[in-house]
Amino acid sequence: MKKQFSATKGLNADLENFEITDILQLITQQVKCGSLSVEGKDGNCSWYFLDGGLVDFECDFPGHLLDLKSILVKSGHLDESAYDLLTGKRGLGEKEVAELLVQGKFISPGELENINLRRLIESFIVTMQWTKGKYSFFPTSEVQRHPFLPAQDANFIILEALRQIDEMTVMKKRLQPLDRVFETTLAQANGEASIHDLNLFKEGLEAQFDRDELETYRLFDGKRPLSEILNRNVLGQFHTCRIILDFLERGIIVPESSSQSTGKLSRAPAVNRQLSGLPLMLLGTALVIATLLSIKNLTNPRQGLKPTFFSAIVDNLRADRKAVLAQAAELLRRP
């Protein structure tokens, strides 16, 4: 639940005049306690500091799936109805739900800490890319720690976010234009699968990806553009970019335009379906027959055909051997 505060005794500024990294460094250097809130075009976010350390955060980015519920549901820790059951009826906040999940052993504290750390970095990645917006710092000593987020050095988080932004810029250049639609090649090869096979196919698919890859892979439905996949993936933009590039390098996904040009599958009769496989069989059979005929004609030409050089020499040697054997047989004749 978002904390309400006023910034009357704090600091208010525009992102255009004073960069967010500068204010973060100021808070860290002066070992301040309080909350920093940013409001921009894509949502808003608040970070909480205790003695200069980052101890909690709350974000609301409608274009990005950064909320705990989406992440837990997408990563398969629990389904949506179970989450609603835990939160909706009792009106619990995110932290309380997290505690319940850990108590109920739906997720381990370590896993939850990792998820929160990734969300924290992602929140900086999103806000650092804003060029317009307002922020306010409200000093207070009443700051509570997040139960599943160890206190973080803000400088480290900033540097990590900046590193990821830099790398992501390079990766995004390779993915341009981001409005392209991609399709999985695995789905192409699976064109002939029956419904039963498709179920097996899904099971097999889950077995061969790790969780992050599977999450990304599922988003490639031949409809979503890359930009949407980057924003909607719960892994965050940086990790999504890395996985997409990996998929592209390994030929797991192909641009939808290329698969469209090749035409979609048609349920043609079985015989028609083998029309493009049969040339292989025809050529293979012809190859074997031609080879056998060549060997036969080279070593032992048919009656009426001109003998080959090879067969002539072989005939000479054979005749020679016959003559020698006849001489040997001659030796065996008694006088």
Binding site: E192, G204, Q208, S276, I313, L332
Partner: protein, 582 residues
Amino acid sequence: MAVPAAQANVLDKAWRQVIDPTPATLPGLERSLEDFILTKKSLAIKNATLYSLALIEMAKQKSSEPEAATLLTKAAVQVSPDYAFPETALCELFFDQGHGLKSLRHLFAATRKFQSNPQEGFYAATFLWLALAVLPFSLMILMTTIMAVRYFRTFSEMGRIKLKPATQKLLLTTAAIAAVLIIYLQTPLPGLFLLAGLISILATRRDIILLALLLAALLFTPFAYEKGMFSLLTLDSSFFRSARLSESGRHLQFEPASKHQQPAENLSQLVLQFFMQAEIARQRGEYHKAEIFLRQIIAEKIELGAVYNNLANLLFLQKNPETTLDQYEQLYLKAAELEPRQGIPYYNLSRAYLSLSFDLIKSQTYLEKAFGIDPDLSQTHEAQSQPDFMPLPENFYRQYADSQPGHKTFFPEIFRYMLFPGAGWTTYFILVIIFLGGILWQALLTPGNRRLCPGCGRLFHSLKKLKHTAACPLCQAAGRQSPCNLGWHSQTSILLTLTSIAVPGFYQLLRGQPVAAAALQIPALFWLYNFLICRTGIMALQPPSTPWLSLVFPALIWIANLGLIATALSIHLRKQAGEKYQ
């Protein structure tokens, strides 16, 4: 060695005792064989191949009497100790009698002689070089054809995705026309290029690299074929015909040397011609003529140990009073210097010192040197009364073979049967290199993770976690990883199973195990080649025709093939059973 008439009469007399022994019992036969071998030795006849052949024939006639047959075949080995064919006959005899180990021992002995004997060495060279020419080509044809079966489903499905029905029909018609042309013109190589090129479009990178390797091996084929044909031509050359006659041990009305002469085209042919004429003259006892021929070789400034050694021997046999011991020493030492691995020149020099000056100290010194280099000399030269003559070094025979004329005839012939009429050396290499480049380019374009599922034959792209298995996600979930489940009709599956049993390496290649497939197919094709070359009759009585190669070897390959299939299937079934249990 051909024998002068007087000597031949003595040998004939001993031979008559062999074919008509008195008493006509086994000990009687044994005694007459011993007499014949002793007579042959006393006449300084090293090999008498015709008599060995006659003894082998006699042994075959006495196959109902195992002891007599063994005795006769063993005698054949002693009569021609440098030749492989009597050892081969003995190997076959022991095999028929069920003495496997003895048979194998004689097979090894035969193989050793097959390589070391200058005459039979050319049979061995023909056999091996032609095998090297034929094997890569036949392996590529076999593997590419099996790959066509392996990629059938992939092509069917991908073709359906990428091609319209009209285009599919056009492709099929074009392939049918190409197939008819390939058969009608008998041009396997263009057919091979076409098929391999087609497969490489959808093949995995590993299979494309395999095709490229096989294709690269084709670059070696013409060279191997050239060497093999040169060896074959040498066997058919007048020089080797004369050599065969001279080793027959039979007094033949010697055909005039000119009949065995061809105009020498190069120095090695000229030297061989002079050397052969010197040998013929020597065997007739015309030592002076023989000396002239050898001096001709020296005049051509060809430095060969055998020439100097044999010249010194001829001077020794002429007992020329003008020749001093120093001159003998000079010639023999020159021979020893040119052939440092031969003890014969020192042995002959030792004899010269003993006969001409009775210098025991020098004689003993050189004899020790001779035995130091070649300890076997003490056994082989016991019964000889004459100095030992040396043959030409083996590499000289190879040079002779390589300078045979004929490549202008046999190259167009082989390229005609591989490529098309009118194709030559340049066309062949240009085509192979261009195609190899194309295949390698295709390998670069192919995604590294492209896989072909052995369970269903579908193309898919594997991911990190699938490294341990070759199956696609679908087959992995269903527990199908065997090519028996290629998803085809049951008749096709039966056909595939039968082919897997009959053709070694078929199952392994279908499963995507090219190394295991090659390990089975290379010996299988070698056996097929051995079978075909033995059918021409030129390898009769040589090691390739033994039952070990013609019967036991293919049986072992077939058992290995069945064993590997059974192991793969049992592992698969055990896995399936384990999964069900879980």
